[in-house]
């Protein structure tokens, strides 16, 4: 069924009796060409691009819970391509361009909103670093603009500009950045993949791999063995747990990142802003809630809930930047488990086991990567060669000394 404005009106006038389920609920088949493990944004996008671009194949997405129950439904929904390094910026810019066309392509309202992202500057050194970053963005066709305090005051009059310790000195803006309705990304990709015949199988946990003579033959699941020519892991925060079942140790630690949302308010925050002196970022959802976050809880965790000290730190940073925040009431706080890679950058690669592929290490920034990650992973699965823009995201970069340390802080998760 095609969704359209006309359809909404027609259904409204006929008692909404014509809407059907957006995807099927199929039984798992005994064998597939491709089995993708994990029904998050990346897994569903991978299935969609695989089915669309790389020919007719039997494809399944196996999800242990319900699709969208992982980080794709827990993140703070920010999209941007304001990266510095060569291995990253072309990839994230491709992703941003894919977001710009996504809703038309999927025929699904994902509420892609290019309301702009602004990284605030509080010192001369930070200005130099952000000018350099802005230039890298411009060279990669992403566009960037340095804003003066006067320009920022016009759009965000309520910020704490004249703080004694961290006055606002300007900002780096990417006007094409913004937010996307996160659940709708999972649902949109699921519906589109389903329309190409992809089986989306929920409540199906992968519990092990069948590996014979160094080749992966399929997966053991809570719903029985499923054979596959190619098996693709795409489970974000659960990456180490899953791959340990294939005997692999990964350059990844799992930690919690928390997110916060206030009660609904009238429109006050027109774009996405980030504090340059502490770790805090915020936007306002279309429902009116201020959505914000900050540092992860910096120790290994699979708890999907965080601890109070980080909450205190995030709120303090928020109050330092937006004193008015203290008048809003917090509605909800939650956490998601992130796959923190050693250098802060992702991995899309084959493994040493034939027929077993890996996508993970997205840390706190994989939502914006969803379309490009899906496309590049599909390309790798179909052709066994990395996609041009994802060539740097290989396992062996650590061995070869080609870390992609975007923050320049060192190759260890507790540093970035």
């Amino acid at each position: 069924m095609r969704y359209s404005g006309f359809r909404v009106i027609k259904e409204a006038l006929t008692g909404h009796k014509g809407w059907g389920p957006a995807w099927r609920d199929p039984e798992p088949q005994p064998a597939y060409d491709y089995v993708i493990i994990g029904g998050g944004g990346h897994g569903l996008a991978t299935a969609y691009y695989l089915a669309k671009h790389y020919g007719k194949a039997r494809i399944a997405v196996l999800e242990k819970g319900w699709i969208g129950g992982g980080n794709v439904g827990r993140n703070t929904t920010i999209i941007r391509s304001n990266y510095l390094l060569d291995g990253n910026e072309p990839f994230y810019e491709m992703s941003l361009q894919m977001w710009e066309r996504l809703e038309q392509e999927l025929n699904y309202n994902a509420m892609v909103s290019q309301r702009g992202i602004l990284n605030l500057i509080h010192s001369d050194a930070q200005r130099d670093a952000f000018v350099r970053r802005g230039n890298a963005m411009i060279l990669n066709g992403a566009g960037a603009e340095m804003l003066s305090v006067a320009q920022i005051r016009k759009r965000y009059p309520f910020l704490n500009f004249d703080d004694a310790r961290f006055p606002i000195k300007g900002g780096l803006a990417q006007h094409r950045g913004g937010t996307v309705r996160h659940d709708a990304v999972a649902w949109g990709y699921a519906r589109a993949a389903d329309s190409y015949g992809v089986d989306i199988i929920q409540n199906c946990e992968v519990t092990g791999f069948r590996i014979e003579n160094g080749t992966c033959k399929g997966v053991e699941t809570s719903r029985g063995f499923i054979a596959a020519r190619k098996v693709a892991s795409c489970v974000a925060g659960s990456s180490s747990r899953l791959m340990s079942k294939a005997g692999m140790r990964l350059p990844i630690e799992s930690t919690v990142l928390q997110a916060f949302v206030t009660e609904g308010l009238k429109p006050v925050l027109p774009g996405v802003i980030t504090f340059g002196a502490g770790h805090f970022y915020a936007s306002q959802s279309d429902k009116g809630g201020l959505v914000f976050g900050g540092d992860p809880d910096k120790y290994n965790s699979y708890a999907q809930r965080g601890n109070l000290p980080v909450i205190e730190d995030v709120i303090e940073s928020g109050m330092a930047l937006i004193p008015a925040l203290g008048r809003a009431r917090l509605l909800r706080i939650w956490g998601g488990i992130m796959d923190m890679s050693m250098d802060g950058s992702p991995i899309i690669d084959r493994t040493h086991i034939d027929g077993l592929y890996f996508n993970g290490g997205w840390c706190y920034g994989g939502f914006k990567a969803t379309p490009a990650s899906g496309l590049c992973y599909a390309h790798l699965l179909a052709t066994d060669t990395p996609h041009d823009t994802a060539k740097a995201y290989r396992f062996d970069r650590f061995r070869r000394g080609y870390m992609i340390d975007e923050k320049g802080m060192g190759a260890q998760p507790n540093l970035h």
């Binding site: 350059p251 630690e253 290994n300 708890a303």
Partner: protein, 95 residues
């Protein structure tokens, strides 16, 4: 979280910084034939289980000792706290 420091008693986890997998105690021999492989694994690969995890914590705003904490990564429950130097010595390190 409260970490029960073997010398100082219960301390708020906020006083500590976290380094991760306690396997980091065992720095490989730099003169070994396969030192490059060993250092790659040592530096970049981690045990990352859901459940019991042995990990290094540094008492940065306290007595600056290194601890090996055994903690459940699903419940955050801490079952054992040792001085890292005791662990290293008991596992055969001289210094």
């Amino acid at each position: 979280m409260i970490i029960n420091h073997p010398l100082l008693g219960p301390r708020d986890a906020q006083e500590f910084t976290y380094l991760g997998d306690a396997a980091l105690i065992h720095r490989p021999d730099w003169q070994a034939e396969d030192a490059q492989d060993q250092f790659h694994d040592y530096l970049y690969l981690r045990d990352n289980p859901a459940g019991e995890h042995r990990e290094l914590w540094f008492h940065e705003s306290g007595d600056r000792s290194w601890l090996v904490v055994t903690r459940n990564t699903v419940t955050h429950e801490i079952s054992k706290v040792e001085l890292a130097r005791d662990v290293a010595r008991s596992e055969g390190r001289s210094r």
